[in-house]
Amino acid sequence: MNVLSAILILLALALIFGAVLGFAAIQFKVEEDPIVDQIDNLLPQTQCGQCGYPGCRPYADAIANGEAINKCPPGGESTIHSLADLLGREFVPLDEEHGEEKAKTVAYIREDECIGCTKCIQACPVDAILGAAKLMHTVIVDECTGCDLCVEPCPVDCIDMVPLEKTAKDWYWQIPTPDANKAQTTIIATDRPKPSVDEDEAA
């Protein structure tokens, strides 16, 4: 009799906890970012197609389905590192077949040579080129991702990719480089020069 009641009690407890857990699993479900969104978020969104896919989102889809993570030259090593971290894969160096990591550039149209054919406008994946048929075109620098896609279609080769110039506004300090003179760095702490005492203040 005792055994039976024990079993019944345990059964009842199991049912209660099961119900509570089941309820919690549905009610407090954590909405997780689908993995494709997370991958897409790490890609540089240049939409250049150097990976062989028509844009960053398709490549993110492909990566989620097992494609290699080293096919994005604009993202470079840092993107491969963060993708490797996200997906728990090994870091692999950039696949040179798809291009090499370059400094960021933007398209520049030599405006007096432009014939207004609108071919580059159609090629631009982010609508960063402004113009109309038989009228001069120009690049909106702030919107250009430097994807190179407009260079190829231009029939008069008037588009250059120019590196972005550093201005005082986007400049920031570089990491301090360890002293070139290694011999100097072998001093011990007590050898450091004494701070000079200021006579004016001491007076």
Binding site: Q45, T167, W173, Q184, I187, A189, P193, S196, V197, E201
Partner: protein, 558 residues
């Protein structure tokens, strides 16, 4: 009653070296032959030039207007001619150039039309705020944030305390000290103007505290005396605080004077406080009561490489070289020229760079004064940096994360709360330039954030373009289909009409209504045509019998 004060964590006591430049009164620097005015002398958007090369300008004339909310106007510091608008060396740690307006002065120092003086005791806050904006006033303490933005009251925060930062904690700098000694009246009146602006209509007036380090006794005395004369309600209090670097940091000074801490990532207004530099108050007074825009400032010229270190009232845009010569610079002695103080300043690479709104000090140091930093050695985990940090961070931990570029971790350890005061580097027995690493990491984090927001934008643009192309394709397809359908319908109708006609002649009553109608319409049309022809024939016969005969002849000819 003595005002209660608090303490902040850490801090250091570097040699002050302030007596060097307080020996003589403030002097007016001579007008140089050329003024170089960078369009970006403040935090935010650069100003937009409103004059052209060749224009002659008068003193106080607007030459570049604010371009956006966080921006500040630039005015001509003296009369002359604009000779160039182009890239010039600017006082910036990068040593890069920036867009500058260059004015060739005519030495006449002729005032243009001044803004009308405002009776600030009766003026509306909005009017005062507009004046401060029009006068191009920015914080004169060093960061150069546009003052009108800082003083613009937001709805959520009621300001209860106005703190005037007169701590001037950094060694060597005495510009604020000398200003308070010589122009205490302007300072106090400026404070009254700010208090007036911040005072909500029905609330009590804001409490005004001047935080000043106790190494400036003379200035404290003069300020107290001036307050007695000018401030009948004793709204303004001078609070002497112990000398400790960096007590002049905004968050540190707030903690010392009120015991409140500004929340992580917040601004002083979040705790009901507005903080202004003492130099700014004087500029505000001049702008409001005298109608003078910000065209000059007091800058300390000090260091042992100068024969006569002193404080100069200089026109903005004056090349630093001219002023150093005026102070007797010895080129042989000079080892490093620093803008700002020895703790937070940066080395100037070009002597032709001009004085800008935020230049509080030029330090011409000799090799013994500020020696070349000894080589960096390994961190020994002594923890002195953590003891010295005024922001209660863990600099050694941050150092590892900055060195290994593990920025996520660095952010978790609140790297962005670092005020870059340099106290950690100062105490480090291994001579590690900690603050340099932090500056690098902060810059890198900001750059990455910017990059990320840009890529996010590119993604949105790509997606909306994709959407648009899809829509266009769908629209085209829909149109094509509509056309195809219309053509098919037409053909069908034609066919059925034909069938109806044929069937109509054979078995009229069994045909569908539409076919019947069609047939009837066609019949009617044919009848109409017939009738018309008959009528025409008649008319032509009646009107032109000759023509008729000609036509008939022609017809016969056929």
């Amino acid at each position: 009653m003595k005002q209660k004060i608090w303490d902040f964590h850490g801090g250091i006591h570097p040699p002050e070296n302030k007596l060097i430049s307080t020996q003589s009164p403030i002097e007016k620097a001579p007008i140089p032959s050329k003024l170089i005015l960078p369009l970006q002398q403040h935090a935010g958007q650069p100003a937009n030039p409103v004059v052209q090369v060749g224009d002659s300008v008068l003193k106080g004339q607007l030459i570049a207007e604010a371009s956006g909310y966080v921006s500040a106007a630039v005015h001509a510091p003296t009369s002359g001619t604009v000779v160039d608008i182009g890239q010039r060396n600017i006082p910036h740690p990068s040593g890069l150039t920036g867009l500058c307006l260059v004015i060739e002065t005519d030495q006449l120092d002729q005032w243009g039309e001044r803004l009308p003086a405002i009776d600030y005791e009766k003026a509306e806050p909005a009017e005062l705020l507009q004046r401060i904006r029009d006068a191009g006033i920015t914080g004169l303490g060093g960061a150069g944030f546009p003052t009108s933005v800082k003083l613009n009251p937001s709805m959520e925060n009621t300001i209860v305390t106005l703190i005037i930062n007169a701590a001037e904690c950094e060694p060597y700098i005495t510009a604020d000290d000398m200003l308070m000694r010589e122009k205490a009246e302007e300072v106090i009146k400026g404070i009254q103007i700010i208090a007036q602006m911040l005072m909500p209509v029905e609330c009590l007036p804001v409490e005004c505290l001047i935080g000043i380090e106790d190494n400036k006794q003379e200035a404290i005395e003069i300020l107290k005396k001036t307050i007695q004369q000018l401030d009948a309600e004793h709204q303004i209090k001078v609070v002497s605080i112990p000398t400790k670097y960096p007590s002049g940091g905004e968050k540190q000074l707030i903690q010392i004077l009120t015991g409140k801490e500004v929340p992580n990532g917040g601004i002083p207004a979040d705790v009901g406080i507005v903080c202004q530099n003492v130099g700014t108050t004087s500029a505000i007074y001049r702008a409001v009561a005298l109608g003078e825009p910000l065209i000059s400032r007091i800058t300390t010229f000090t260091g042992k490489a100068l024969a006569t270190p002193k404080n100069l009232e200089v026109l903005l845009g004056t090349p630093i070289q001219d002023l150093l010569n005026d102070c007797g610079l010895s080129e042989e002695k000079l080892s490093r020229l620093i803008m700002g103080g020895p703790m937070m300043g940066f080395t100037l690479t070009d002597l032709n760079a001009p004085i800008i709104k935020s230049t509080n000090c030029i330090l011409a140091s000799t090799a013994d004064e500020i020696p070349v930093p000894p080589p960096e050695q390994a961190c020994i985990r002594c923890g002195m940096c953590a003891e010295a940090c005024p922001a209660t961070l863990l600099p050694q931990q941050l150092l590892w994360y900055s060195k290994t570029k593990d920025f996520d971790k660095a952010l978790k350890y609140n790297l962005l709360d670092c005020i870059e005061c340099g106290a950690c580097s100062y105490v480090c027995p291994s001579n590690i330039p900690l603050v340099q690493y932090f500056r690098f990491a902060k810059g890198e984090i900001r750059a990455q954030e910017l990059e990320h927001s840009r890529s996010e934008r590119a993604r949105q643009r790509f997606e909306s373009r994709q959407q648009r192309l899809d829509n266009e394709a769908a629209e085209k397809e829909a149109k094509r289909q509509a056309r195809a359908k219309a053509a098919a319908d037409k053909q069908k109708k034609m066919r059925s009409a034909q069938e109806g006609f044929d069937a109509g002649t054979a078995e009229k009553h069994t045909e569908a209504d539409t076919a019947d109608d069609k047939a009837a319409v066609i019949q009617a049309a044919l009848a109409r045509v017939q009738a018309k022809k008959e009528k025409q024939k008649l008319e032509t016969q009646v009107e032109t019998p000759i023509a008729e005969s000609v036509v008939n002849d022609n017809n016969k000819g056929d």
